[in-house]
């Protein structure tokens, strides 16, 4: 037990005074501490008095011991805190902080004034979240006795996404620490010293040049408005705030999203998110509002009349779609599911395919995900990753194969970075983005993944005898060559727990054989939970609820009627009927006979499943634009129109409930994975035919649109990186 201000509280071993006080609901002012960062003791505001401890220690750095008697407020402490705050404020635009009409101003002058340069709180866009204001209120500072030392640094507004006004910076160092310690980027650092100290980059180059990946972690840490998100900072006050899940990639980051009517206002990583733990990436942090609010959203159902797509009522559109699909033999109908739709939509689509259009073929619109899920089902018995993301944290060696962690799944870098700091070795096979060399210990740039992995298996072959299937496995290895690289790799991998991240780069080689090789490696290193497939948005969930992808067909018969949920899907020109359900206008609309406007992630209800098999809920924050409807509802109505029974639902929740009963997805949270037969598989010889990937035409395809071309700042960033023209 410890005593804080005379009251007794329990505590956990390893907690600091500040953590215990916060848990007990006792406020201790602080600017430089944050739950996810290691203690720093820079701002000196959390001074406390502890019996038998000399002086006034900082609460954030003192670990608790039993029986500590702590006082968080006394005349002495408050005087010191006030003095510290005054010194800090002498460099900060403080006029509004000490204004006698401050309270009235907050009450009656709530409109944000849209000024570029902030000279007081009334011009600040971050008034409500500002931590400096909170501390000033707590310390009751009403006069500043020190002379003004305003730095007058120029505003930095030329970089993508983030506006920087270092005149507001209080040098708490949270941005610097999160960038270096948690993200492992180090794009900013403290420069100079004393009064001239500031946060900046080497030789004052731009942040893009300095290696910034614009994950926005610094922005979420900033206690002031020194760093602000340009696209959203002047939007009106938000009406609603909710927790939902990002579906731009398969990591499954929990996000806190704010909205007002049909506009998404802001998205921030959820500190308690199980997959992302308070971190996001450039897509999740900055692109959710910009993308879903972008122009080109589909608002009305459209039906082609005399060759022209014409806005119509829902009934008419659904009838046209149903009639068109029914007019064909079900065997000629192809349903293409976009990886971005919810589990509910996929579940209803698969029911529709089975019950209303028996014999129709469903496809998942992602080349890599189709191969990855199919191969993993053959090898593991379970379609999907063999373990959860914890495998990355626990691994002794992390092998990244054919991924690009700057563009996709970049939140996983946080876990890789933590493992790397702990001593895990990171090996990267395939092309590597600039700036990863601090994270990666060994880099082998070639895209001959199969040769490298097979060579590696050969080197480790004498570990194979203990496993089932070793004879066939060893025989099948004979045709592969050794190389210098595989000897090196074998040294690094042998004897440690392994985690393999497989990205869509393996499509350049023989993907199925690469999967077999990766799986065999995990068997040899006895790391059953180490396979992480870098899947797109909700491919895992779609596979779980609909059984996709089905077994590979030699030559899939061409269909005549198509029902697709993504404008990126491949539909042959010969198709004579096309129903397109999408959220953005896309080139495929030119050929569509019926267009049904669906909803995106911030407007959707339901669940999605991340690449580790974690089922998470979507909570709609914005109204669907125009007449558009949530995708599951469109599918249900279309099924009813086509004569399907049992498709009448009122809410997405009812579909979710039914889905939990009928499929292997049973509840929210991580799906338990069966342990699989631990045996070696024979390796196929490389055939050297380049695998084409027809759906790989976009950088960040999201339904029918490409995020890069909807968000200008992202395009600017990718232009610098050389990803887009």
């Amino acid at each position: 037990m410890i005593t804080i201000n005379g009251k007794q509280y329990p505590f956990k071993a390893g907690q600091t005074v500040l953590e215990a006080a916060t848990a007990a609901g006792v406020y201790i002012p602080t600017l430089c501490s944050h739950p996810h960062l290691t203690a720093f003791g820079a701002c000196r505001l959390c001074l406390v008095q502890i019996d038998n401890v000399r002086g006034l220690p900082t609460a954030c750095t003192i670990p608790l011991t039993d029986g500590m008697n702590i006082r968080t407020e006394s005349e002495d402490i408050q005087r010191l805190r006030r003095e510290i705050m005054l010194l800090m404020l002498s460099e900060h635009p403080y006029s509004c902080l000490v204004c006698k009409d401050k309270d009235l101003c907050v009450k009656y002058n709530s409109c944000t004034t849209k000024a570029g340069k902030i000279t007081g709180c009334n011009l600040c866009s971050w008034k409500e979240g500002c931590e400096v204001r909170k501390v000033v209120d707590y310390l009751k500072i009403d006069e500043i006795t020190y002379p003004i030392h305003y730095h007058d640094y120029p505003l930095k507004r030329e970089e993508p996404f983030i506006d920087r006004d270092y005149n507001l910076c209080v040098l708490c160092g949270r941005c610097v620490r999160v960038c270096e310690d948690i993200r492992g980027i180090g794009a900013i650092a403290f420069l100079n010293r004393g009064h001239k100290t500031r946060v900046g980059t080497a030789f004052d180059m731009s942040n893009v040049e300095a290696g910034c990946v614009f994950c926005g972690a610094c922005l979420d840490e900033c206690p002031t408005a020194a760093l602000t998100g340009r696209a959203t900072k002047w939007l009106a006050k938000t009406e609603k705030r909710t927790k939902t899940t990002c579906n731009f990639c398969g990591v499954g980051c929990a996000m806190v999203v704010e909205g007002r009517r049909s506009t998404v206002m802001r998205a921030q990583a959820d500190l308690e998110g199980p997959a992302n733990k308070g971190q996001a990436c450039v897509l999740g942090r900055f692109c959710i509002p910009s993308f879903f609010n972008a122009i080109g959203r589909l608002r009305y159902p459209l039906v082609r009349k005399d060759g022209v797509l014409t806005p119509v009522q829902w009934e008419e559109a659904l009838k046209a779609a149903a009639d068109g699909l029914k007019a064909h033999d079900p065997g000629d109908v192809r349903i293409i599911i976009s990886p971005q739709v919810t589990n509910e939509t996929a579940y209803l689509l698969s029911r529709m395919s089975r019950e209303v259009l028996p014999g129709s073929i469903m496809e998942l619109d992602s080349a890599f995900d189709t191969v990855a899920l199919r191969s993993s089902r053959e090898l593991l018995g379970n379609a999907g990753s063999s373990g959860s993301l914890v495998a990355i944290n626990n691994a002794g060696t992390i092998l990244i194969v054919g991924a690009d962690l700057h563009l996709d799944h970049s939140v996983l870098r946080v876990r890789i970075n933590a493992a790397h700091k702990r001593g895990a070795k990171v090996i990267w096979l395939g092309p590597m983005p600039q700036g990863e060399d601090r994270l990666v210990d060994y880099h082998y740039p070639g895209t001959d993944y199969l040769d490298k992995l097979a060579g590696l298996l050969r080197k480790m072959a004498h570990d194979a005898h203990n496993f089932e299937g070793s004879n066939e496995f060893l025989e099948s290895l004979v045709g592969f060559k050794d190389s210098k690289e595989s000897t090196e790799l074998a040294k690094l991998i042998r004897g440690k727990s392994l985690c393999i991240l497989l990205g869509k780069g393996v499509l350049m080689d023989q993907p199925e054989a690469v999967f077999t090789a990766a799986y065999n490696l995990l068997v040899l290193t006895r790391s059953p939970r180490g396979l992480i497939l870098l899947l797109e948005s909700n491919s895992q969930g779609i596979s779980d609820v609909s059984g996709l992808p089905t077994a590979a067909l030699e030559s899939p018969p061409a269909a005549k009627a198509y029902y697709v949920t993504s404008g990126n899907a491949y539909v042959p020109k010969e198709a004579d009927f096309l129903v397109l359900q999408d959220i953005f206008e896309s080139p495929l609309m030119e050929r569509a006979d019926v267009v049904l406007p669906g909803t995106g992630m911030p407007e959707d209800a339901g669940t999605i499943t991340s690449l580790e098999g974690r089922v998470q809920a979507l909570d709609p924050i914005a109204l669907a634009p125009g007449m558009s409807k949530q995708d599951w509802l469109i599918v249900a109505k279309l099924a009813i129109q086509m004569g399907g029974a049992g498709f009448a639902y009122d809410t997405a929740g009812q579909v979710t409930e039914e889905m939990f009963k009928a499929t292997k997805v049973k509840s929210l949270g991580l799906i338990a994975k069966d342990s699989y037969a631990f045996k070696l598989h024979t390796m196929e010889q490389p055939q050297r035919t380049a695998h084409s990937s027809p759906t790989n035409k976009n950088v960040h395809g999201h339904r029918g649109a490409d995020i890069v071309y909807k968000v200008d700042d992202l395009r600017r960033l990718y232009k610098y990186w050389g990803v887009v023209e």
């Binding site: 180090g186 900013i188 650092a189 080497a202 300095a210 600039q434 990803v723």
Partner: protein, 173 residues
């Protein structure tokens, strides 16, 4: 991967770094472990070798010890001893102490500024000459005093400085 952006990327790592510089740097790196703790000593060695810390040097160092350039630059700017611009070949320092000032040091400084077309504290574009001023060299009896490349001498006039600058420009001190 269709967009292997590393292939087309504006490659920041390919900063113009001459082979000579890289060679000198690698000799310095050999003396140390690849460790954060050696950072200051390495920076000092680099400055001793090149006279300043260049962008290329910091970049190569960051690759070597796997600390971000920004952090290295941050550490270096903390200390007053490190310079980040190439020092001029020759340095003219005019004393502006009281004795020198009343003996016309301001005219001498004016002459230098006008002749070289730069201000005090700057370096000529070709990197040859920089001018600066101090407030007393401790030899006021020789006023006005000018220090040319660490050589202190007195009795200067604008004309004398003019000729000296000409000589420095030609290359002979």
């Amino acid at each position: 991967m269709k967009h292997a952006h590393q292939n087309q990327c504006l490659d920041r790592t390919e900063r113009n770094c001459s082979e000579d510089t890289a060679k000198k740097l690698s000799t310095i790196f050999l003396k140390y472990r690849k460790d954060k703790d050696d950072l200051l000593s390495i920076l000092q060695d680099i400055q001793d070798e090149f006279g300043y810390l260049s962008e290329e040097a910091i970049h190569l160092l960051s690759k070597e010890i796997r600390i971000s350039e920004n952090e290295i630059y941050g550490v270096a700017t903390f200390y007053a001893i490190f310079r980040f611009e190439k020092p001029a070949e020759h340095r003219i320092t005019v004393c502006m102490g009281t004795a020198c000032y009343v003996n016309g040091a301001d005219k001498i400084l004016d002459e230098a500024e006008q002749k070289l077309g730069i201000k005090t504290g700057q370096t000529t574009e070709d990197g040859k000459i920089s001018i600066g001023h101090v407030f007393c060299n401790g030899c006021c009896g020789h006023a006005p005093v000018v220090v040319v490349d660490n050589e202190v001498s007195g009795g200067w006039t604008p004309t004398k400085l003019d000729k000296t600058i000409d000589k420095l420009k030609e290359g002979s001190p």
